[in-house]
Symmetry: C4
Subunit: 383 residues, 4 copies
């Protein structure tokens, strides 16, 4: 009666909320930690990227982020390139009642992309002396990436919910990343993926960075809609293993960027201990005063015409981008002073740089729910 026929092996996977870091037996002064990030020949003083989401990044935000040492990615297929003046549309989304927001989004995103706006947005960022990164979907990359390159972008991000090195279709020829990389004079980051093999195969095409994460973000319902998703701690660890194996085999180090599922400084520190080289943030940055979303956040799968996966979330406005990055923190929930948090965490974990932070011991630890912490969160929401 106890016979058990194993139809398939399933392994446990973990999100950031289920893990915790163990301090080392040697500590280091936080001021002496090096948190810089290299993507191909570009280097950044802080390993934080802003998501290519319309509630997070516009021209002004991209400039501010670059000045602070990070990197914002402008979505070339969002509102910024469909509307000469996107502010009205952004206000419309912010003001929409919850029950109408999905259909309003489906409508405003059905306007065509205006190719001239691509150049305008990129020029505006470059003219301010900022590093400029933009994102395209695989379907539009062949057509639009030459325009973007010509306008002077520094980094191209080719991004969709799930991107693989090989896509089978009878109706069109899938994007060949090795060709794109040869054609463009700039680093190309590709994603998203979550598994060792998908990540490794993307690296083998020659890309300069890989985005990690499917479905973990606050504004995403991919798992509810199509069942697909891997919790971010496990996804990061699997792709870090692919990166390390690829590096051992080829000598080429391709950074991975954990994208999504980071709700506070604690999650950010955990992502680095799980093996990431950088993090891409959405909802935390949507809460900055500089973000175009006016305290709202939504993913780029939200306005899909037939199968929207996500919705607008009211995240509220927390503080300035600078305070979010460098503090000082006036709240204690881990949403301010992210750089300070990372340096402090590296200090107690005895890590002098990100590569050493990858060695930190990680344990599986249940999410803590205490009166005090609940209280604190309530307090912030009430504000």
């Amino acid at each position: 009666m106890m016979e058990h026929y194993q139809y398939k092996q399933m392994r446990y996977t973990y999100g950031f909320e289920e893990i915790a870091l163990v301090p080392s037996d040697i500590t280091i002064n936080p001021d002496q930690t090096d948190i810089s990030l290299a993507i191909d020949r570009l280097t950044f003083s802080i390993p934080i990227l802003a998501s290519a989401m319309d509630g997070v990044v516009d021209v002004k935000f991209a400039i501010a982020m670059s000045k602070l040492g990070g990197l914002a990615v402008l979505n070339l297929e969002g509102l910024q390139t469909r509307y000469a003046n996107p502010d009205e549309v952004l206000a419309q989304i912010a003001d929409a009642p919850p029950e109408k927001v999905t259909s309003i989004m489906q409508k405003v995103y059905s306007k065509p992309i205006k190719e001239n706006l691509i150049g305008d947005r990129i020029t505006a960022i470059k003219d301010a002396g900022a590093i400029c990164a933009v994102s395209l979907t695989p379907a539009n990359t062949k057509k639009l990436s030459p325009l973007a390159a010509e306008a002077g972008i520094d980094i191209l991000v080719v991004q969709s919910t799930v991107t693989t090195a090989r896509h089978i279709s009878k109706s069109y020829r899938g994007l060949i990343f090795s060709e794109i990389i040869k054609q463009l004079p700039i680093p190309v980051i590709v994603g998203n993926c979550v598994s060792y093999s998908a990540c490794r195969k993307l690296m083998e095409t020659g890309v300069h960075g890989v985005l990690v994460g499917i479905g973990p973000g606050a504004a995403c319902t991919t798992r509810e809609v199509i069942g697909v998703g891997v919790p971010q701690a496990t996804a990061t660890m699997d792709c870090a293993a692919a990166r390390d194996d690829y590096f051992r085999t080829t000598g080429r180090y391709v950074p991975i960027i954990t994208d999504g599922g980071i709700r506070n400084g604690g999650d950010l520190c955990k992502a680095f201990a799980c093996g990431t080289d950088a993090v891409m943030l959405g909802s935390i940055l949507a809460q900055t005063e500089e973000a175009p979303g006016r305290g709202n956040h939504w993913g780029m799968a939200t306005p899909h015409e037939a199968l929207p996966r996500g919705t607008r979330i009211r995240v509220g406005i927390n503080c300035s981008l600078k305070q979010t990055m460098f503090g000082p923190a006036s709240v204690t929930d881990g949403t301010q002073n992210l750089v300070g948090a990372l340096r402090t965490s590296m200090g107690v974990c005895g890590a002098r740089n990100i590569r050493e932070m990858h060695q930190t011991e990680v344990v599986i630890a249940p999410a803590i729910k205490t009166e005090g912490k609940t209280f604190q969160i309530t307090q912030r929401l009430a504000k």
Copy 2:
């Protein structure tokens, strides 16, 4: 002091909410996926069945479902064959206050089945050119199945909470499935079961399909009342193993149909990755405009005279059956465009057909609870 005497081995089991699918390293255009289902010599363009529940299927609904390519099962022992005009009774159930609903159900279901209505309902479905499937309990199958066959049904479903190939009783001779199958000229689907051995023994009787699932549905309290139940992901995997072993031994492929516990497109996609050939939906379809339950849903064990197991749930009305099946979705919680969701999921999992979808990697992943998702659900309930 640490001695540990193992009285019985227990293994972990999983529901859909605890698992997630891992995308493949090759993706496929959703348009190129084949999702057809074969039951004996009948084929269906979409692998979705509607539950034999009175809040879900009546004659009109059965016709609509067949036209869309799926299959609805009409309960021959429910209100449709007890009342010439069941609409009044359906309204009575819909209007009943919560504290009286169980006793009202017990009362209205105590009316006898009128045999002439069996023929009438079947004829009405067939006259519309639809495929007609009906359900009977094992106790009534010998008596009523000939009437149903004569009236022209295409598929017979013999269904009770737990159905086994062998039933021991002194008071009556249990139903012998091999005899029924010989007597009837049509495919017979039997259920429900949840274990490898029970499923395999049912297949060995010659049945043409097996329903999988005990107690996971939204309208079922079997586990609270009698302690019995196996979470649906595990039940599906165990029965899929039985199907595959039986197929390897005999060359006969008997489809399994996961029945219950599917709350959204994500769960539906996971069921196929767990090995099912089709899904039977209750509460999602009870939310369609075409469903006779007027936004209410209840299981067929609910009106049991001595030990009711389930209750009426107010599920509300979501949208049309067609939009539920094919979209476009105007909500993002996975309850609309189920076919689009399945094709998209198969695309990112690199599966060209259902048999390939069975090979998808599945991981154990904690249910995600984020502000955004909670928000979205709240939003839908408030609508």
Copy 3:
């Protein structure tokens, strides 16, 4: 850095809410199941005992329970033997505001036991033709059990939160169970315990039954107060293993009785699958119209003068004792028709008697939380 020094081995333990029963591949007509219980030479037609708690059992209740085929245990150290007319005190407890109930309890339970009331209560039960079982704490057993035996009890229950075969004290000589058993002409049940070794050592003293369960009941806070407790499914399985080993060694079968943590018919059925021979119910029976608690329930550790462990819970009044036991059920949450539920569960598990029910496959299954079930519970609480 990953070194891991195992200070102590810890194993997982399970409560009823975390497990579920798997149906067999042969089913049996519920009418043909035998659920009788034997304690020494006494037999009972249903294997259900009522807890020795003042909100559950008084003389009237004990008589009613015996008539229905079960067994109620009267607490000889509770209100029934401290007050000639306990009804006033019961009303006082029922009416006490929450913040005062613990101190009121501490006060009313500080009244001394009147020895003459012991005889009166027992006589009243016996005069009605009922089987009479009473409980004493180990500290009072030597003194009061002769009085009870003389008054004609059929079964003595010696019960405290944790009872062991050996108790070390300088101030008094611990109770020696082997002596008590020799002195009394009736079966003696002892408890509570939760581990293999504690249960087996109690059996080796010659007792006729063992109560299993520390801290799992709805009215108990032992785990919060002193950290001690083992979830009931595991406790039952461990003690069942002790019983079986003891039976194999000695040929004497000592029934175990799972006491506490059973919230509905589902839990009750699971307890038998985990290996129990009978169940002792508190809060479910406190909800009957016959219970003296007026819809309130509290454990006997609640009025402890220095370290109370538990409180009064308002459980409400559900239905008559007979309907609780035999139905028909008018609710679907598993709190009515417990005997029907047990027979139905045994039927689908293919068990002809309790010993066969011990063989049922049990799986670890997460507690199901669906809209429908939550709805249903809300509905009952609102009633």
Copy 4:
């Protein structure tokens, strides 16, 4: 497709809420348990310390705690040494609205420490005949500990969130514990740490006690802010293993003190079964009438100027310190009569002293959530 590259091993860790104690098969009279604690040559009749937190310990509280047989630690870098009259500031914190409390804290804690107040506070405690323990951070220990020693302290606690035997910094020379211990004539307790190796390396410096626990307390958000923390049951067991190994190697027994995460008597008893020699309590003692926090509690990382980790929690006032320690309990949630709870727990676990309590069997048991217990907690919060 199932290939699995293990990037890092992660083990499960446990908090007190996830474990439970198993009673022994021999029980002991609680009155015969010995719960005394030795730190170097000092002995205490009860193994309970009060946290060096400004809402918990002032001069008056330290005296009261010592008289009862325990030990309170006065924070020498908190309000007591920054303000001649700290009562006004304590009132200001208590009265601050939630949204302003963090910035108010940052301000009041920016006042400099007045060295003369260090002597005053210590003298006041010593003059009352109490044992005096004080805490300093590693950064200030070299400068301030001579002052404290001169003023007559009995024990020095050197404490920060994470303290290691070796700290790397270019800007200053880290504190060398072996030097401090040689210089001071009194026992030195150091912390906090959570791992075997960090604990063992601290013991190897010659310290007389180690504080265990990072981030588990009710007033701490270290895990949210920097991702670091180990649940207390596991942290205690790992450090207990280090203590035992160190003792076996050197013959020197260095007590460990579990600091944080103890919410009630149950947790306290579990800490001892996990291997601790003493517990340090914050929020439970902040609820006493004697605590200076006026029903409020906050950690010493709360007022950090750039990265505050914690907040003020309103814990309310429960009862007197004496009732908290020795009862009688008038509530049943485990927050009163902690000593009685420990002795009772040791009794049922058959432990005559703390070292025997370390041998108690511990199981992994899910937190129990029943109607009754929830009810009880609600009741207390409402009071």
